[in-house]
């Protein structure tokens, strides 16, 4: 197991190097705005542009730039400085991370709890009204794009400009860090959590329902009933225990992806997280910032994969890694 984890961690490093390289290549191959031009402002003096280009190292060949970047990164953990405003990329990312983590984890709790509950009830009460209503709602939630759902919910319910304002749904741009004011932090994130969680909850509910229905026809469920266990225990301890493993996998990966930035939700609700940072840096052709956010996202994804695989070994005793 330990050897397996070490091997996987080495692969994580290889993957990250690969991702950074690809980001670099993509940035140079595909046409983008000239960072030096953007930095120089309106109607710049050509000399100034050249000066900026030289200062940022943009006059060197791209592979030289990549090598310099990687050298700083590996030797000093230095992600470079924004082309746009000279801020440290690492500092920027750390400043933005709490907002993204708040958004992702809060939404994850919400969608796991609701998705699992609805999935179990729908499976147990299959073909009843409650099942049909839940699954119908789930289909709508899966089909609704998050930016549409976000805008509609702001339009309808936000405290500032909603048609039917709900006081504890603070509107877009109201985010404050938890350390500053937990109450406003919570109220500002409540609506984004719901919006972001909706599609995931629906997906998980459907997945769990399908799994559980299948599991409930397994022989070992019949054994559990033959033992005389109460039906509740048969479902929760024997059925859900088996049916939930794919949910754990999906949750690990989805949370991993979201930790790298929930671009749409963060943009709609104007939450200053990693997603917004990535979006802005792409707008500004700000390569170091793009690299930083892409690497962070890639790290979360590959790391989540590793965690999921390890957790799986604990969930299913038949799985053994060597």
């Amino acid at each position: 197991m330990v050897r397996y984890i070490i091997r996987r961690l080495l692969w994580v490093l290889v993957l990250l190097v690969l991702v950074s390289f690809l980001t670099f290549v993509v940035f140079y191959i595909f046409p983008s705005a000239d960072p030096a031009q953007l930095r120089a402002g309106r109607q710049p003096n050509p000399q100034l542009v050249e000066q900026i280009r030289h200062n940022l190292g943009l006059d060197k060949p791209w592979y030289q730039q990549y090598f310099d970047y990687m050298k700083r990164l590996v030797l000093h953990g230095d992600f470079g400085y924004s082309y746009q405003n000279n801020f440290s990329v690492r500092q920027q990312i750390f400043d933005r991370l709490p907002a993204t983590v708040s958004l992702a984890l809060g939404a994850a709790i919400l969608w796991l709890v609701s998705g699992i509950a609805v999935g179990i009830i729908s499976a147990v009460r299959r073909r009843t009204l409650i099942d049909r209503v839940s699954m119908g709602t789930a289909l709508v939630a899966i089909s609704a794009p998050v930016y549409w759902l976000g805008l509609v919910s702001l339009y309808l319910f936000s405290a500032d400009l909603g048609k039917f304002p709900v006081p504890f749904f603070k509107g877009a741009g109201s985010y404050v860090p938890f350390s500053q004011d937990p109450s406003i932090w919570f109220q500002s994130l409540l609506l984004p959590w719901i919006v972001l969680a909706a599609a995931f909850a629906a997906l998980y509910a459907r997945l769990l329902r399908a799994n559980l229905i299948e599991v409930m026809s397994e022989d070992y469920i019949r054994t559990a009933r033959a033992k005389g266990l109460p039906e509740r225990r048969v479902v929760l301890k024997h059925g859900v225990r088996s049916a939930i493993t794919p949910i754990v996998t999906a949750a690990g990966l989805d949370i991993g992806i979201l930790l790298g930035g929930a671009i749409l939700t963060e943009t709609v609700f104007n939450i200053p997280g990693i997603g917004r940072l990535a979006y802005d840096s792409i707008q500004n052709s700000d390569l170091p910032m793009i690299q930083g956010t892409v690497l962070l996202g890639a790290f979360f994804i590959v790391f989540a994969n590793l965690v999921v695989d390890i957790v799986y070994a604990f969930l299913d005793p038949r799985v053994r890694y060597t």
Binding site: D219, T223, A226
Partner: protein
């Protein structure tokens, strides 16, 4: 009901509504088993043998199932008990083991934990006490190193060991009735005999009533006291085991016996399969449900539904067949001499096709 009968099933009927029509899975089955005795229930897949027993356990209760008849256990009709009342009997007074021991044990829980759960469901004992009882049970069913194996997962057990563990689980609460649904079908032949011997030994030691469901007459030959042969949801013949093998009365039973390889016959003697397939339980044939496959069918058999009746002069031997008793004896006599069903039919004068 005679007082010695521990479990008495009377006129059990089970229908399942499906999209293709109503499946008449069990059509008026009556069986009983006494304490300390083993009843073998034999039949092909779809003959209703498993469904009958699962229904007694309440495991076929579903929206699409219609259940009729009675199943009396200790003065209570199991079929009319509430789910919760039946649940308290299930796994406690009446226990069941199943065909495939790998899929019947939960893959994610240790064998010991599954045993402990069975014990603690019906007994208010500490985890520690339940665990030592679990070890005891594993020892009882012949699992070597029970203290070590109690914490193993089912996939770490061999097929035979898994079935032993299943049996241990069934025995957890000293059941009075053990229903074994094809307990050896998924096992290697060598292991089959061990498991059957184990069940028989435990039955004697614990004085349980055992219902052994199988498709293989050979499996019940050695240990069962009585055998019931089922076909298309009905019992078609019932007799004490030695009678069933010596003087079977039903053409279907003859067919089953003739399709078993025997050591006391010449090795080149061909086995005689029963032609055809079991009938659809949705659209059953009229008359005797075995008539489409019966080599001795008469016209009348296609119209008249036979009743399960006592063989004249044979107490405890019941058969559901329209053939005349003497004709049946003659036919069996010919078959026993090694003749094929067609020869036997030609040599014995069957009644006229009235």
């Amino acid at each position: 009901m005679s007082p010695s009968q521990l479990l008495q099933i009377d006129d059990l009927r089970v229908d399942f509504a499906t999209e293709d029509g109503v499946v008449h899975a069990v059509r008026g089955v009556s069986l009983e088993v006494e304490a300390g005795r083993m009843l073998g229930v034999v039949g092909e897949s779809g003959s209703g043998k498993s469904v009958s027993m699962l229904t007694v356990m309440g495991l076929t209760r579903a929206e699409n199932a219609t259940i009729g008849g009675t199943a009396t256990f200790e003065g209570k009709d199991l079929l009319s008990l509430s789910n919760d009342e039946l649940r308290r009997i299930r796994g406690n007074d009446i226990a069941m083991i199943f065909q495939d021991p790998l899929s019947s044990l939960h893959p994610f829980y240790k064998v010991g934990a599954q045993l402990v759960e069975a014990i603690r469901t019906h007994n208010d004992v500490s985890k520690r006490a339940a665990r030592s009882r679990a070890v005891e049970l594993l020892k009882l069913v012949g699992i070597p190193d029970p203290e070590g194996r109690v914490d193993a997962y089912p996939h770490e057990f061999s097929g035979g060991m898994r079935q032993r563990a299943m049996i241990a689980m069934a025995l957890a609460n000293d059941p009075k009735v053990l229903i074994a649904d094809e307990p050896t079908t998924a096992l290697d032949v060598t292991v089959q005999a061990q498991i059957l011997d184990l069940i028989a030994r435990l039955q004697r030691e614990l004085e349980m009533a055992v219902v052994l469901i199988t498709h293989d007459l050979g499996v019940v030959a050695e240990h069962a006291d009585e055998i019931a042969v089922m076909y298309a949801g009905q019992v078609i013949e019932r007799a004490p085991t030695d009678v069933m093998f010596k003087a079977p009365e039903h053409p279907y039973t003859w067919g089953l016996l003739q399709s078993i390889p025997r050591l006391d016959r010449p090795r080149d003697e061909p086995l005689v399969p029963i032609p055809g397939r079991p009938p659809s339980l949705i659209a059953l044939p009229g008359g005797c449900s075995f008539h489409p496959r019966c080599p001795y069918v008469r016209d009348r058999h296609r119209r008249v539904d036979p009743k399960l009746e006592q063989v004249p002069g044979q107490n405890g031997h019941l058969v559901r067949c329209l053939l005349d008793t003497q004709v049946r004896r003659d036919l069996w006599g010919e078959l026993r001499r090694g003749r094929l069903p067609e020869d036997a039919r030609n040599r014995v004068k069957l009644e006229d096709s009235a």
